[in-house]
């Protein structure tokens, strides 16, 4: 497109790019054991070597810090960054698809669907000898978790889309009904919550605690494997979603208008729902339920740079990653040395903003 607002990368983009490495380094240095910038600079060159077998240049005290960074903070910070980016760009894409700024994956039930799918998958396979939450760290367990979450999330997304959008042979009703969308989202969230509670009720105390902690969203289980799995799913999803910028802009005009501009609406819908379900499901499976990132980030960016997806999608990914790394830092330090689940932080930030959005609903003229 050739509009003035769309040429070049823009100031906001450069600021986001600049802050990303700063925030990532902050994520490595902040925590119960503070690591200052000098120590960090000394350790960074040895980050991907094993401190115990190759201690060249590191004294024994530094080796301990190296372990903290390499084994705990690096996977955790990277996982937060990936999950945040995936959730935020998914939110932006869903909002474009539903033509509604409130369509966040956690509000319309995709997140809770994915959460239930993951629990069910683990419990079902658990009958076949896999121990819930202990064998999960193996590759097999992780992929079962992601697959279950994907099926749950995809089903939830399709049900919501189906029920809240008029059938395609009634053009007049092809507009998504927001009230229906939110209500179906509530129903699916409640249903999935009941399913999760039932699973928790049927298992032992330890598993029950793990399930409820999972539903609060937490990055404390981050590991190399989880980061690699998240990267393999979320990075391709982010890159794929960015290719839909122009089509999503056209979709905001309305479904039939987009078709008249040459967009294959049906194909776009399916592609977006499947990619988003993948991104959201993997983040739910690997980092638990983290709400509101997909709602807050695109909304704030829209106020800064307008609704054009050419910028909104990449900026959302950048800002979402930043936000979740920041939220995870906060989660680590407020109750230090204990931790808060990061999902609680994002909900504490996101819920008030959601209420403000609802109060401004007349701006969108669609309720």
């Amino acid at each position: 497109m050739m509009s003035s607002a769309d040429s070049g990368f823009g100031l906001v983009g450069w600021i986001l790019c600049l802050f990303t490495p700063v925030m990532l380094l902050l994520g490595l240095s902040v925590g119960p054991v503070p690591i200052d910038s000098q120590q960090l600079l000394q350790i960074l060159p040895f980050l991907f070597t094993d401190a115990f077998t190759d201690t060249t240049g590191l004294d024994p005290a530094m080796a301990g810090l190296h372990t903290i960074i390499a084994d705990i903070r690096l996977p955790r910070t990277l996982l937060a960054w990936l999950v945040g980016a995936g959730l935020a760009i998914s939110g932006a894409a869903m909002q474009g698809l539903f033509r509604n700024p409130l369509a966040d994956p956690s509000i319309i039930g995709v997140t809770s669907g994915a959460s239930l799918g993951a629990s069910v998958a683990v419990v079902l396979i658990g009958g076949g000898g896999l121990n819930l939450f202990t064998d999960v760290e193996q590759w097999g367990g992780l992929s079962i978790l992601v697959t279950g979450a994907f099926i749950g999330g995809l089903l939830a997304a399709l049900i919501v889309y189906r029920l809240s959008t008029g059938s395609s042979d009634h053009l007049s009703s092809s507009q998504t009904s927001v009230a229906t969308m939110l209500l179906v989202g509530i129903a699916i969230t409640a249903l999935a919550g009941a399913g999760n509670s039932l699973l928790a009720y049927m298992t032992d105390n330890e598993t029950m605690r793990r399930i409820s902690l999972w539903n609060m969203g937490g990055l404390d289980a981050a590991s190399d494997r989880r980061v690699i799995l998240a990267a393999c799913i979320i990075i391709p999803a982010v890159l794929l979603l960015m290719r839909f910028a122009r089509q999503l802009d056209a979709m905001l005009l309305g479904e039939s208008e987009a078709r008249h501009l040459g967009v294959d609406v049906q194909r776009i819908k399916w592609s977006l729902v499947v990619i988003v379900a993948f991104a959201v499901a993997s983040s739910v499976a690997l980092a638990g339920v983290i709400g509101f990132v997909g709602l807050v980030v695109p909304h704030m960016l829209r106020m800064l740079i307008g609704p054009g997806h050419r910028r909104l999608l990449p900026y959302s990914a950048l800002a979402g990653g930043l936000l979740l790394v920041a939220a995870d830092i906060v989660a680590r330090i407020v109750l230090s040395p204990a931790e808060m689940p990061v999902g609680v932080i994002t909900a504490l930030l996101g819920a008030p903003l959601f209420i403000i959005l609802l109060r401004q609903r007349r701006d969108y003229g669609m309720y």
Partner: protein
């Protein structure tokens, strides 16, 4: 295939006389929820003409436009665009030939006016400079240049309508001199409803100018007098049936209006254009 070949040969004969059919409705019927909203409609839109589509509320005007834009598939019959079945076009190839202005638009995101107009250029890639010149020229013509950087959501109804018109027109215009792409078609559903009188006249004059450049225009209207003044031909619909399809003087008669709208009218000649002017009886 035989039938298509017949139409092809018919077309080539017509084009020799400068009477090429751009869109042909070939015995089109449409069922929606078991109700027949269009029955057995056959008409041909000539290249470079304005055809007005008139009829009471619920007569099937919008449905007929939907068939012409391939949004709906006909239950029976077919629609041909430049001789080929319209259902055989892919969305991108159709968008290069046919632009559509729907009755209402549901854009609720604050794109600025210029960005909305620029979306009309999506199907084409003629280079940014050319695109920008076309967009700016159309915004000047429709008096929305001053609004270029205003958010669409903050506009009045008439301003929104002119923005959408500029977007739809930019899809079919290939130069700042208002040249149109070859063999292209503009479908407008009630484009003047939100416009004030000067802008109604402005739009209809602009459409006449574009038709003279070869654009084929099919426009659903409620204002019979506007249709009589600007259209080359008029199609009259009632309850899904095509009652008449002919030149203005043949269609706009007291008897025909009575038959379709069920009201008594007087028809006088326009003092300047001598076109029929319809006055409802008091």
């Amino acid at each position: 295939m035989v039938c298509i070949n017949m139409i092809h040969s018919q077309q080539s004969q017509e084009s020799q006389e400068g009477q090429e059919s751009r869109i042909i409705f070939d015995a089109v019927s449409l069922n929606r929820d078991g109700v027949e909203v269009l029955s057995d409609i056959s008409l041909a839109l000539q290249a470079g003409t304005i055809t007005a589509l008139l009829g009471p509320n619920g007569a099937g005007k919008t449905s007929l436009l939907h068939c012409a834009s391939s949004v709906m598939a006909c239950s029976r019959g077919r629609v041909l665009l430049n001789g080929a079945d319209i259902q055989s076009f892919t969305p991108p190839s159709l968008a290069q030939k046919v632009a559509v202005l729907p009755q209402q638009s549901g854009l609720n995101f604050p794109f600025v006016v210029e960005d909305v107009v620029a979306m009309g250029r999506y199907p084409h890639s003629d280079g940014q400079l050319c695109d920008r010149a076309i967009i700016h020229n159309l915004m000047d013509l429709l008096h929305i240049r001053d609004l270029a950087q205003r958010p669409y959501t903050a506009l009045s109804g008439g301003e929104k309508q002119r923005t959408q018109l500029a977007r739809v027109l930019s899809q079919l215009i290939c130069s700042p001199q208002l040249d149109v792409y070859d063999n292209s078609v503009l479908l407008l559903d009630e484009p003047i409803a939100a416009l004030d009188m000067p802008h109604q006249t402005l739009l209809m004059n602009l459409l006449q100018q574009l038709a003279a450049k070869g654009l084929t225009i099919f426009i659903a209207l409620h204002d019979v007098n506007l249709a009589a003044t600007y259209a080359d031909k008029i199609a009259l619909l009632k309850a899904g049936h095509l009652i008449a399809f002919d030149s203005v003087s043949e269609v706009i008669t007291e008897a025909m209006i009575k038959q379709v709208y069920d009201i008594e009218v007087d028809i006088i000649a326009h003092p300047k254009t001598a076109k029929p002017l319809v006055i409802p009886e008091v």
